[in-house]
């Protein structure tokens, strides 16, 4: 019985876990350019993968509650061209992400700029984002 309950919880957890939408859509279909945001928090996980990577970040809201944000970024190769390496992501790192909020998911964002605790700043915007000056010339 204990095994059955465990399996049921496992399946339920898998069904309920938040999965980012696949990235093959227009930027404006998934993100709201009228809702720019700045997230300060702790990066807990990164999926360094094609065609877009994902940063998972714990961010405290104004009431102090921790929200688990999912942030879409550019492809790894593009971020590498702007200097960001996967080795830059270390345990417990705090960071700031500037980007735009998702239209349907309130804790989904598209990242444009990643600023690490040491002050280094990286362009992480995916193709099709707004012309907001985030991309370095």
């Amino acid at each position: 019985m204990r095994t059955h309950i465990f399996l049921m919880l496992l399946v339920a957890g898998a069904l309920c876990s938040v999965q980012p939408a696949q990235a093959h859509h227009a930027f404006a279909a998934e993100y709201d350019v009228t809702k720019p945001l700045t997230l300060n928090g702790i990066i807990t996980k990164v999926d360094w993968e094609n065609p877009h990577s994902w940063i998972y970040m714990d961010v405290k809201d104004p009431k102090g509650a921790v929200k688990h944000w999912t942030i879409e970024t550019a492809a790894p190769s593009q971020m590498s061209r702007y200097g960001l390496k996967k080795a830059d992501f270390v345990e417990g790192m705090t960071a700031t992400v500037k980007g735009y909020q998702g239209k349907k998911d309130p804790v989904l964002a598209n990242g444009r700029t990643l600023i690490l605790k040491d002050g280094r700043s990286f362009y992480i915007g995916s193709v099709g984002g707004p012309n907001d000056g985030a991309m370095p010339h």
Binding site: H25, A26, S77
Partner: protein, 149 residues
């Protein structure tokens, strides 16, 4: 696109990736002949799927399908109209998609996970470039090129 190319190119893209969990990198790549063969199957399916894209007059979506994001992403009949207006441009993107798969297939045959990872970027470039013309063109381009609905 949704049934053949998209799910199979996801297999190619996701075959090699790194999950960095609390600073600890966990590398993922095909680990045996069977897994490499599965990725190769998907890569070839995408490349051959591009031939289907080039079939004249072929429906771009099942009957009744609409835009997933009206006003931002075109409906299938609008996409079809753009293809009919510029078939050579469409076919060039389809051939570019095929060509973008070649480095991936070469990497798979060599079981070179890093090369496969890097090949994924080029595939995405082709996809995005085509999407920006035939699926979600800029608003100005949409107004001038999309047919009346």
């Amino acid at each position: 696109m949704n049934s053949v190319i998209d799910p199979n190119v996801d297999v190619v893209w996701n075959a090699v990736r790194t999950v960095i969990d609390h600073g600890k990198p966990i590398e993922h790549a095909p680990a045996n002949d069977e897994e490499w063969a599965a990725v190769r199957h998907s890569a070839l399916t995408v490349a051959e799927g591009a031939n289907l894209l080039m079939m004249p007059g072929r429906a771009v979506a099942p009957p009744g399908a609409g835009s997933l994001s009206p006003g931002i992403e075109l409906a299938p009949d609008q996409v079809r109209a753009l293809i009919d207006k510029n078939p050579s441009g469409w076919n060039q993107f389809a051939r570019s998609l095929q060509e973008s798969l070649l480095p991936a297939i070469d990497a798979i045959d060599k079981k070179d996970s890093q090369a496969l990872f890097e090949a994924g970027d080029k595939i995405d470039e082709v996809c995005e470039s085509c999407h920006q013309i035939f699926w979600y063109p800029a608003p100005g381009a949409l107004a001038s090129s999309a047919p009346a609905r």
